[in-house]
């Protein structure tokens, strides 16, 4: 692997077996630069072990929404949950994680920056606006481009959705007419839009792309090429640890299926705690 390659990982979610497998996969390829997009904890059974591993490897990391919630409490809710059932499960995981974590590891999460930047590459958890915003692959292409362009980046690396993808936005233009008070008639303008990319690193510790394999991406700084990697790990081991820890069993079920069926029960009556 060329030395210009770097790996981007996200959403580790306290799944030690998955994190170890992904780091081994990265090491095997001789990649020395790793960036992490946060959510080290939540859902999974080994929050301290995962945070400790990230600290030991000195992996530059930005703060995810779960990391923020553990520090700031659940008032950081941004309607992240699609249903009240999902929210109750999330709260159980939150309280369990908060109880388990050492003060030192909490302090580490609190110290994480919201964004990391390397030249024209920007690294965030959700979007440049919020750790809680989902940049899904089918969101409006113009809105997606706005997120990258307004942040002053060429390529935006994000996570949060647990679904890895590479989206290239190109060949764009917007034509407008403008009328102003006191001016005679309307003027026409055309804006040519720049080419930008969004790279979603998927999830190491809780994949939801229809497969149980942990996902991350490798980006080549020179060629711009992005490779989505899928890595096998011992899913059953983490599932058993989830059950043993007393966390909601649906988290183990979800992990063993690789998609978020259990979180799709949209509940229109959900009211944001904020």
């Amino acid at each position: 692997m060329t030395p210009m390659a770097h790996a981007v990982i996200s959403c580790l979610h306290a799944n030690l077996a998955a994190v170890e497998a992904v780091l081994e996969d990265i090491d095997r390829q001789g990649i020395e630069t790793i960036t992490c997009l946060g959510d080290l904890v939540g859902y999974g059974p080994q929050p301290n072990e995962v945070v400790q591993l990230v600290r030991e490897r000195a992996i530059p990391t930005c703060q995810g929404c779960w990391d923020e919630d553990i520090i700031d409490g659940l008032n950081a809710c941004e309607c992240s949950y699609p249903s009240q059932l999902a929210e109750r499960r999330g709260h159980r995981a939150h309280h369990w994680t908060a109880e388990q974590m050492t003060d030192e590891n909490k302090a580490f999460l609190a110290s994480l920056p919201m964004t990391l930047r390397r030249d024209r590459l920007l690294f965030v958890h959700g979007s440049p606006n919020s750790q809680h915003e989902y940049l899904l692959p089918d969101m409006s292409a113009f809105a997606a481009l706005e997120r990258v362009e307004t942040a002053g980046a060429d390529t935006l690396f994000c996570g949060h959705t647990h679904q890895p993808y590479v989206r290239e936005l190109s060949g764009g233009s917007i034509r407008v007419t403008v009328e102003q008070a006191g001016s005679e008639g309307a003027t026409e303008q055309e804006l040519t839009l720049p080419m930008r990319r969004i790279v979603n690193a998927g999830s190491v510790g809780e994949p939801r792309h229809g497969d149980t394999k942990a996902t991350y991406v490798i980006h080549n700084d020179t060629s711009g090429e992005v490779t989505i990697r899928e890595v096998e790990y011992d899913v059953a081991k983490t599932c058993q640890a989830i059950v043993d820890a007393g966390l909601p069993e649906v988290f183990a079920w979800r992990l063993s299926h690789g998609f978020e069926y259990a979180e799709r029960a949209d509940d229109a009556s959900h009211v944001c705690e904020r």
Partner: protein, 234 residues
Amino acid sequence: MERWALVSGLRGDLDLYERIQRDLSTQRGVESLFVLGDLIGPERNCDALLERLRQPKRGDLKPDCIYGWWEEQLLAERGYRGDQNAQVLRREHGDDAVDALLKAVDERHLPWLASLQFGFIELDCALIHGSSADIGDRLTSETSPLILLDRLTRLDVNRLFTARSGQQFRLELTGGAIQSHVKDTAGEQQQEQAVPKRSVIGIGQGAAFSLYDAATDRLDFMRAGEPCVTPRRT
């Protein structure tokens, strides 16, 4: 169909509000008056205007109000926004401006100001003070169309009426497109997305206000006490 009057930035000026009410009484078909925030400001005592907005006089067009940037600063400083305070006002204008704002509004109005909404959705139009991103967002005719399209998309409306910049303008998105190529673990997809035909309208502030007819999409830029200043369509 009824016409809407869209007003903002009264900033406690009851005389100005009365002039606008007089103008509206001479306009045909104006059935609704939307006051898009900045009812208050630090320049003068705002209590008389707030009383009038809350309890209109006979013959007044009844106002529907939302909160604006100045209300946000006051409510934050008065503890209605959690841990926040009027930090933006303090940073931009100093402690004296914060003190002046606190003195300009009697505390009896605070619960009512705190009850005001961020915006209204009427038909396919959003009526807000700043933008869907932030109450302090100043959208102008020079704002990048990419940002304007984003603000429209966030609310999923065809027309966004905004007041924060104080400008009176209408910017219509008339065409264009973008290519989107997505690669994921399932394969690759190429799509073209066209620019939707949507508009952002700056309604003005203070004496500058706007009249809008949703049935015909006719927009008139007004100044209190003066004839219409809308440009002729070419």
